[in-house]
Symmetry: C2
Subunit: 777 residues, 2 copies
């Protein structure tokens, strides 16, 4: 696959699919000519050369720097703030606190009903905002922050959700630390199910709290121009940030312009405005100067979200033939100090991944004195998968069945957890498992391992697991404006952010596919509430499936107008016209042809503008991506080190829009799964201070290039879903990280006989478990 082939890149001369009749919706593509090709990013040069401007690069000549003064305590009351020293320090332009006029604002925490003050006198987690400062340099701002004297009444804290319901634990909100009633789900009769089972297993699992910690920090540049506020924010969604800021400040939406340049990753932690966004806006207003406020890496660890920890118990029953008879699941989770969905979607895979008539789930969410959770690449799912996929592995062993066969025995064709059992447009799960196993050489590897007695301290193991993602196929609303210039180049006006995943590239390909334009003649604007059209935040693996049909609809509308102009000028029937290589041709009259730049009608109009909306999906079926993953590990029995040797990910995410960006998502998702399984955890000091101990990239262990296997094979499964939407794309970003950690755990068990039920599977932990087993022998 030559990805840098200029013939491919420029896409000269590919044919253009049939145009729908006027007014007719475009039919799903069957054959494609650009879509699916491994085209390099349209903005690759900018990204690689460093010329791409990220919000953290935005700068103005008169810009000053903001900083947030955060509480050093996990639970404390602010009794007095003395800012007088800070105000007198060199370069300091403004100091604001809750008692500053205009700053006594209410803050609504996302994902729940929690409200507090923007600068709340009760700081319920370490790092919550107490004051904001703007100064001429970031260093002056930091020095001034250190000079703000806050008198705190330090309160007892609880930072471990397992201790939050102890009668002795301090209560963070209300009567006790329950966020609400347990979230329960039930179908069938689990007791009956367990009674029917030949084998019943019950295991406790735990996943640790993870921090998103994307490459680009959280923050923004805020500037006022009269009564209008412009914010350049590192965000997954300019429109949600606009709504958040306008809401807090009580401004009309049209007066808050949010611009998302390139952005350096979010993973769910940049779906809304932060307190920093509002504080930057207030500081900019107070000083009449543009204010840049980016949190430090340390601050982002404390206050910009996390994948919450989960404490799960899963009881499962299975017949000897592999039929699942019952699943009973409980979970204790926490979203931190305010409502933020600490147990959100943890039980979804239990409810819906495998056919099972009897299921009961109960999830409990509690408050602790720690930063709030936020959606984190497949909220809840990797946690649930950690429990479910390890349990299935154990069940398979118990009934002496290949784990692949156990899963194939329980493939669902409709959603059991939803009212009315809606069918799936496609269930690629079976194909994912089968083709993934074949690509991995699962049977052969399993056979070989079972026939080999492993000697020495390096042990090899293989493992697998499957997943679904609870939503796919995208949904309204989205609006796209596509402008075709008179020379046949085009400008795509899209409000969705490209998080670095290649959204812009895919959308350029959709335009190229539909209109027969060269990729390098298509320019895509950055998301901007002032200048681009409406889009929801890029997240939930729904960006491509939501936006691409709207982009296609806009391109179809441009094509309709373009061909009408051509038909008038060529004096021919519009239905016979197609576009090839920038030229409009009649299939009936070969002499009738004209190049786009030669169309007089186009020149007169200047541009053709097409507007495209995201309509509802064409069927009432449910659109889910599925996946199955397989890995091989080597475990060093002396050191407890785990090397992930190779990975195969077979993902059914509908149409492969671009094979390069597809593979990038697979590599990224597996890498994050390795983080969850092997290296990452937030460490809070539960004894003395309640503070976070590893708030940096040195102590918080992200997987690096050396932790990622050289061989990650992506096996795209495309059953040709024509019911999802008009481009056939589903979501890939999240499903591909869901089973990874559990798959590694299964492989580790296969290699060592040790089942690690708590993340991360660190060398120390594995050593201790191996030593414990040896002790018991």
């Amino acid at each position: 696959m030559k990805v840098d082939d200029p013939e491919l890149y420029y896409m000269e001369g590919f044919p253009v699919p049939e145009t729908p009749a006027p007014g007719e919706d475009p039919k799903p593509w069957i054959e494609t000519f650009v879509i699916g090709k491994p085209l390099p990013r349209v903005d690759a040069y900018q990204r690689v050369s460093g010329s791409a401007i990220y919000p953290s690069d935005v700068s103005f000549p008169d810009m000053i720097y903001g900083v947030v003064v955060g509480s050093p305590h996990p639970n404390a009351m602010v009794e007095r703030i003395d800012t007088s020293k800070a105000e007198k320090m060199p370069g300091v332009r403004a100091v604001i606190t809750g008692s500053t006029a205009g700053a006594d604002l209410t803050w609504k925490w996302p994902y729940g009903n929690s409200k507090s003050k923007l600068f709340d006198p009760h700081c319920r987690f370490e790092g919550d905002a107490v004051a904001g400062i703007a100064a001429d340099t970031p260093y002056q701002a930091a020095d001034a922050a250190a000079a703000v004297e806050v008198q705190y009444k330090v309160l007892p804290f609880v930072v471990d959700e397992r201790k939050a319901l102890d009668p002795a634990a301090p209560v963070i909100h209300g009567k006790d630390n329950h966020v609400g009633k347990p979230d329960t789900y039930e179908r069938g009769d689990v007791n009956k199910g367990f009674a029917e089972a030949d084998v019943v297993l019950e295991t406790e699992y735990r996943t640790e709290c993870l921090i998103h910690t994307p490459m680009e920090l959280h923050g923004c540049v805020a500037r006022w121009d009269g009564d209008r506020l412009t914010i350049w924010e590192s965000t997954q969604g300019v429109y949600p940030v606009q709504q958040d800021v306008a809401g807090v400040l009580g401004m009309p939406l049209a007066k808050v312009r949010v611009i998302g340049h390139y952005m350096g990753g979010g993973f769910g932690s940049k779906l809304q405005a932060g307190k920093y966004t509002v504080i930057a806006s207030l500081l900019a207003k107070a000083t009449g100067r543009p204010v840049k406020l980016f949190l430090s890496r340390e601050e982002t660890f404390l206050s910009t979200g996390n994948r919450p920890p989960s404490n799960m118990k899963l009881k499962a029953g299975v017949k000897k033939d592999g039929t699942l008879t019952a699943l009973e699941f409980t979970c204790l989770g926490t979203g931190g100090a305010y409502q933020s969905g600490g147990i959100s979607l943890v039980d979804w895979l239990i409810r819906d991944l495998y056919t099972c008539p009897n299921v009961r789930c109960e999830c409990n969410d509690v408050f602790i004195n720690a930063g709030c959770a936020r959606p984190f690449r497949a909220p809840g799912h990797p946690q649930g998968s950690w429990a479910l996929e390890q349990t299935l592995d154990a069940l398979a062993e118990a009934i002496k069945m290949d784990p692949v066969d156990l899963r194939l025995k329980n493939i669902p064709l409709y959603s059991q957890a939803r009212a009315g059992d809606p069918p799936y447009t496609t269930t690629g799960l079976k194909e994912c498992i089968e083709k993934g196993a074949a690509a991995f050489g699962w049977k052969e590897a399993r056979k070989k391992l079972s026939q080999t007695k492993q000697e020495g301290h390096i042990r090899t193991g293989i493992g697998m697991g499957a997943c679904l993602w609870f939503v796919g196929g995208g949904r309204p609303p989205s609006t796209i404006v596509l402008k075709l210039f008179s020379d046949g180049s085009a400008n795509l006006n899209m409000g969705a952010s490209d998080l670095g995943t290649g959204t812009k590239t895919v959308m350029a390909m959709v335009v190229a596919e539909e209109l027969g334009l060269k990729i390098h003649n298509i320019q895509i604007e950055n998301a901007d509430t002032g200048a681009t059209q409406y889009a929801t935040a890029s997240g939930g693996s729904k960006t491509v499936p939501t936006e691409s049909p709207a982009v296609r609809a806009a391109a179809v509308e441009v094509k309709r107008q373009l061909l009408k102009i051509a038909a008038d000028e060529l004096k021919t029937d519009v239905q016979a016209l197609t576009i090839r290589n920038g030229e409009i041709l009649s299939s009936r009259e070969p002499a009738k042809r004209i190049k786009i730049p030669d169309l007089k009608g186009l020149k007169q109009r200047g541009v053709i503008v097409g507007i495209g909306y995201r309509g509802p999906n064409p069927s009432n079926k449910w659109v889910n991506p599925f996946g199955a993953q397989f890995c091989e590990v080597k475990v060093d029995m002396r050191t407890g080190e785990i090397e992930v040797v190779r990975f195969v990910a077979a993902q059914e995410s509908g149409r492969v829009m671009n094979r390069l960006t597809y593979d990038s998502q697979v590599i990224g998702g597996i890498t994050m799964g390795i983080g969850l399984g092997l290296t990452e955890m937030r460490v809070l000091d539960g004894n003395e201070t309640g503070k976070m101990c590893n708030r940096n990239w040195h102590d918080y262990k992200l997987p690096t290039a050396l932790d990622v296997p050289r061989e990650i094979v992506s096996v795209p499964i495309d059953p040709g879903d024509t019911e999802a939407n008009s481009t056939g794309a589903k979501g890939l970003g999240e499903p591909v990280t869901i089973p990874t950690a559990a798959v590694i755990a299964n492989a580790v068990y296969n290699a060592t006989g040790i089942r690690v039920t708590e993340t991360p599977m660190s060398p120390v932990k594995l050593c201790l478990m191996l030593a414990e087993r040896d002790r018991r022998k």
Copy 2:
């Protein structure tokens, strides 16, 4: 008229006009509720506070500064350029000339077929570009420019169009200095017409060359991001600049983004890209840095356009009853060193302002060694008016008729100069003259002056004149996108530049009128080829009449969608719904009402997007603005000083969209007319050097506040034109400056008996003429 009345400003509770049925075009407004009101500019705060960002304010942290090295000679061949010294100077980042790779480009001069090199070895006017330099500071760039050593072969020059056809004159292009064949026009039989006349007068007139010299200099900031070029330019039209730059550089249009922030005046001189735009782009590419290149004031005098000089002869015949029988007009003009329409539209008023059966015009355009002409607020018209309106004044005197009555005798109802004699939608000329005369007190003033023998050295006189502007009512194309946010605020996405004339304010009023929104909830984006929609350049007095119907169409489309959502939610008939004060009401069922922010359907969609196109005007009639002006002067017979005491301008420009911006245009147009009549002229040294002698605001005399009468009365004439377009707006900016100079000249004649046929009527010139008359007595 309380213009700062907040009730008015916020427009609470005004009723909303009837919505057209779906698919139906909006009918022209009859009654309006916001339109016509004297609303202050929506961006008044930004403009007055200095927070508005003009292109000359755009700055980047890594920005460097560009400068153009221009020829010091009006006619010279570049024989050798040595840039080695300049390249070694401190801070210098790039020096480019015609021999630099990538800079050997062809430049197409606007308004004609002339082409040259961007850096042409034959410099045909002073200031033409020879090299470009970028350096860390503007001062370093200027120093380096001085260090570029150019060896010129200096050639003989001709800088006076009256000498350009002398056999001895150097030939600038081709065989002789004729730009082309004479531009001729003829109807009827002028000889027959003159034979029928009772009085025939023949007079020579001359107007001097004027420089636009707007407040903001000409220039841009250019930045590359990979293969995309972004240009922040002080321009009247972002799309023409995009086309020019893409054309010269051979780039796809979509890859050239031109952004027009606020801009500080153009008057026709910023309708295209300049060489400076391309040179800035090349320097930015060469250095990989954003480059700011704004010309100096001196440079703009040489190379960014002018109102060309004209040498006219008008012979006119009239019967005793005031019937015009024949007009014969010749003109010699020049557009400078390249084709640029030196005689463009000079004869239009002769052809079309007054009913006259026999007309002959012949205009000749020649090359001279001076900077090129560009459209200048009503191209050709003030020059033609200078001849025509003074001649009519003289004819009236000759037949002892009131000049008002002479003009009323010859009111046209259709366009005589156009094939098929198309009628006008309205001819407000008669009303302009009558109501203007009444407002001025013309009859009374004339009577009083005729009865008074003026003694002393201060003499009073009155004068009048009329005009039309050859095009009005706007025309396609224009595309507008209007976004209604879920809180009922709106964002208007318009590609047209607001030159400072109030376009944004008028468009916000159109949205408010149609949708019942408060003015301060409407935000209008700056023109931007990437982010806003297509518009032609703001010029030709067509911005409001072109854009406002498109804006209205977009608002009507938003309203249609909004009311449909409301009808569904209120379960009522959409036809009965109206919007009042942000609330949707049913005229049939009073209980059914809902506020815009409460509409669930709107919240779900995020925004409603309406797209509006500028359709053709509803009738085949011609849409012309008309006007009549009256003034009183006092002339100091000792010093030749002329004081313009008061002015009345009665203008028929269709609907008054905003009375404040309307009056601003009137004041501005009359001020520029005073400049033409009394103070302004380009002075070229025709003897020694051919260089411009007064290339600055000290020596080139613009009228200042002290030259403008305290009393400028605007009398809007609105005959209720429902055939022009759906808002009823015509153009005002240009018509209002056309007759001013001639009106003053007529008043000066009335005061002194001296007819000044050459602009400017400077004190020295008038003194000389008074002395000459005294000498002859």
